[in-house]
Every structure is written in structure tokens, then in C-alpha cells.
Symmetry: C2
Subunit: 331 residues, 2 copies
Amino acid sequence: MKKLINDPQDVLKDALLGVEAAHPQLRVDHVNRIIYRANPKADGKVALLSGGGSGHEPLHGGFVGVGMLDAACAGEVFTSPTPDQMQEATKVIDRGAGVLHIVKNYTGDVMNFEMAGELAGAEGVEVATVVTDDDVAVQDSTWTAGRRGVGVTVLLEKIVGAAAEEGRDLAAVTALANKVNESGRSMGMALTSCTVPAAGKPTFELPDDMMEIGVGIHGEPGRHRVPLAGAHEIAEQLVEPILHDLDFTGAPSIVMLNGMGASPLIELYLMYGEVARLLDKAGVKVARSLVGNYITSLDMAGCSVTVLKADDEILKLWDAPVNTSGLRWGL
Amino acid sequence: MKKLINDPQDVLKDALLGVEAAHPQLRVDHVNRIIYRANPKADGKVALLSGGGSGHEPLHGGFVGVGMLDAACAGEVFTSPTPDQMQEATKVIDRGAGVLHIVKNYTGDVMNFEMAGELAGAEGVEVATVVTDDDVAVQDSTWTAGRRGVGVTVLLEKIVGAAAEEGRDLAAVTALANKVNESGRSMGMALTSCTVPAAGKPTFELPDDMMEIGVGIHGEPGRHRVPLAGAHEIAEQLVEPILHDLDFTGAPSIVMLNGMGASPLIELYLMYGEVARLLDKAGVKVARSLVGNYITSLDMAGCSVTVLKADDEILKLWDAPVNTSGLRWGL
């Protein structure tokens, strides 16, 4: 295992020190492993909390800031944060208008956020929840009942973050979050496995001439293992299941070509070119796009595609100013 | 070789299609392989051109836009662009106030930009040049006479780009560029080799228990090959030579912790924490920082550190609005 780390048990602790040093606009609670905005939003606005296992950076800590999240709870690598962490963050960020929990659909995250919501609720904080489940690869998986939550989470945090910043109430923000989740689909693939530091060896074995189509962001098995192919064919294997699952014609789309962590940007742009061509051919109009590492799987080589069916309201919220370490414009 | 590509010979061509599809604010000349701003800057302002071999993305195409470069010439992977490309771009971006060529110190780039400058000069465009040479690892190397140009190039393109946007003349912009280059130092390391697509195999062999300290951005040999060590010790081996080479105390610094392409963000933040601690201990005051992939080496795992001695003027230019795919704020 070759990694830029100290003790494999200290990866999260050490990385949070770096996040704190790099970003004066954030405040890190090292005891509870929560990343907050240094300057909380105004009273009376809905607050947004997300979180999950570490190893997917910039998700979620990289999306804390004006226009997106108010806080993110960091679990150990590929391990859900605890209800205690989530409860603490929920109480701290509540500005009296309630808190939306943004939860990727993995069994541990769903269970822990549910418990945290009840605990915070008992203390008088109004909590609502959206569970993202956009991954079309598999219906159930190793770590989930139902589909996995992946790339749409990034887009949702941006769009719903802008709505909360506008001052919409908790019911409206939650309804929008559900609408965004229902309007998006994703599919990923891996050229290589990732290696969890504490495990010290690859999560799965993948021969030099094979790739995994439909892989999860923790290296969970996908749809099938197939011989290595060119970017053109890989793009088809990602785009086809997405378009098969939802009709994206007749509305503008937001498209993300996401890197899994170890694929260089030149390859991600190349893949985006292939994806854009296929979408164009299928009559899908791309209104906005993102190319880069946004929801990763440690040092996995590979990529995922997310397509979100938008409308004028969603595009306006997408374009609204945002200032996080992972997404920034207008500020 | 596992890569998200089609024919290894078409990587640059295919990637430029993706860049064009992803960024309507850019215009791509596919014949000459030049990335331009779609909306040129105003007449009477100095224009900035950079370029070099591909494989270092987002450098340089990812830094074309308001507040940074006016154009970037893309060579084949790890191969200098040609004088013809540079001459064409120089003529196109000139707004009557001259063009600054920003050149990393590699023999091919320096020679070709020099020829392009002469050719454009003969056609009436005033051209000035800055050659970056901030890498403290080695005095001469496989591909250079003198030190290699690396991370400072990113910071220089931002700072000098802001000065050109302000309307400073070519002499002033060039003087600032030289000052920035002289005020910055970098040092890099590799955990793994990169693989050039057309070569199909790793550029160099590095055993599982070794790392390369002082590596170049094309996988050129560094200072020494040493046993794998923890992040703490790696940070010392990068920071010490930088601080030994220039006194960074008594002024605010801009610090970049750059990933080589295949190291995930959680590791880069962890490394930044180590670097920040060492700088603090040495009395270096960090005023601004960047953590992420900015000047990469294809799929190499590893990182580099750049420290730039700034002043109030440089910090003001650093903070000025910028809108590129690689760096964006205030717009």
C-alpha cells in the first residue's frame, strides 16, 4: 500500500487537521469530527447537514460553505458517522427553522441519521430527511436496501443549498430535495480497486484486462465484470442504463462526469467528450456540466456519470453563488 | 495500461473535444490545438499565453479565462507544442499591447517559445517572456538546463493574469512575472510512476517499498530514491529543501499542496496539514493556500509543495476575481 499517510488508523484525524489549516472559512470540531462554516448562516433559515464515511472527498466536507451545507459529519473511511455526531451537528447548525439531513442510501447512514433525527427532535429541533438513491447499477447491494446514493448527492447539495440560502422553509426545501433526487440518475465504473488504509490491501481483485461496470463508491460489486474497453464503449455502458431508466428529453440537464479519485483530469475530459456526444445523439440537452473529482472512492481509477433533469428553477439555483472548497462561483 | 482512453495516439485530440463540450466559455482550435477564451479581453490590455506538453491538467488549458490566461497551446503528452501553434495563438490574442509568454523551463518549450516569439515579433506583435524555474530538487535534469519550472507556474498565471486584467503594460507585467518566479520554490515526490499512453508502460520502475524524492512532472529522476515513509517524514523531505533555498520569514506566503494526479484528496489534505505544521514551526506565515490537483503528471501518485513569498500587492492580485475551470472565485 502506497499512500501519503501516517498511521493508517489516523487518516481521518490527520486529514481534518489539514482541512482546518487550509480553510479559515471552515471550523473543524476534532472531537466530534464535524466540519462547520466558520460563520453560521442567518437566524430563521433552514440549515443543511450531510455526512457519511470518509474517502469520498471532496464530498461532504468540501461542500460546506455559503450556498451549500452548513455542516458535514465525517465517519471513518467508508464507515457511517455515529448518531452522536449527527445529533451534535444538527443542534449546532439549527437557526430555528429546522435542519434537512441529506443522506446517501447506505444502511448504516440511513439508520444513524434516523436515530440522530429522533434525538435532535426530542430536543426541539425540527428535522427532515432526504435519502438519495440515484445509482441505476443495482437494485439492492452489499450495503443497501434499494439503490445506492451517489453523484446526485453533489448536485442536490448545491441546488438545495441555494434554496435554503434564499430563505425557503423546511417543507419547501425538503420537497425540492426529493424532486432533485427523483430527477437524477448515475452509473459508475472502475478500472482498479481502491485500498482502504486500515485494510492495507485492495478491496477487490480486478485483473489487468478487466473492468467493473456499475461499481459502487466503496468498491461494491456492480453489474458485471467485462474486458477492458475504450472510452467510447465505456461511455455507452454508463450512459445507456441512465437513459433507459429515465426520460431526459424535453428538459435541460445538468451532467457530471466524476472521477473516482485516481483517474487524471485529461482522461475525465476525454470521457466527458464521449458522454456529451452520446447525450446529444439521444436528444438530451446539456445545460450545465461538471468535470472532475467530486464524489470519489479513495484511490480507485474510474469514473461515473450523473444526469439530472432540470428546469428553470433548478438551473437558477445551480447558478446561484456558492463558496465551498469543492465548488465555488459568484463569491 | 488501464486508462479511460480510446486509441493512445488520440488522447489529446479526444480530450480537447471534452474540454470544448464542457466549457462554453472557452473556444478550442482543434487544428492548432489551442484553447482560447470565447470572449477575448479588451483592446489595449496585455495578453498572456502559456502552454506545454499535455498530461499536467488542469495546467495550462484549465487556467484560460478571465483573470488568468488568454490562451494555452497543448502539445502531445509530455511534448512541447510547436512554434507554429504558439505563433498562431500569440497573433490571435494580441490586443495591441503585447503578449507575455509564460514558459516552464524545459528545453523544448523554451526553444519553441523563443522561436514563436521571434516569428510573432516579425509580424509586429510585441512579445515578452518569463521562464519559470522554481523546482529546487535538481540544478540540471534530463530535460532542462537549470532548474525545472513547476508549481510556481500556476500561482504566476493567477497573479500576473490579474495584473494584465488591471491594464498594466507589458514591461510592468513582465517585471511582476519575474518577481513572482524568483519568489517561489517547489519540491515534489512520487509514490508511483506515471504511464504515458503512447508508451503503454510506466515511465520508470519504482519498487513497492520505495519512493522518489524530488521527482519531475514527467517522471524525471529526482534527488534520491528512498524507502517509503510516513506523511510526516515526506513533508519534511519536501519542505526542508524549499526553506533551505530561500528565506520565507518576514512576509506572507501563498502555499500550494499539489497532487500529481492519482493521489486522492483525503491524502492531499493530510499532507497539507503536515506541511502547514512545518511551515508554522519555521516561522513562515501562510496567508493563502491551495490544496488539490493543479499541475499533475498523468496518473502518478504523489504530491508537490510550492511556497511563494508574497507581499500586499501579490496577495491583492491573488484575491482578484478569476473564472477558469481550474481556479474560480469572485465571478
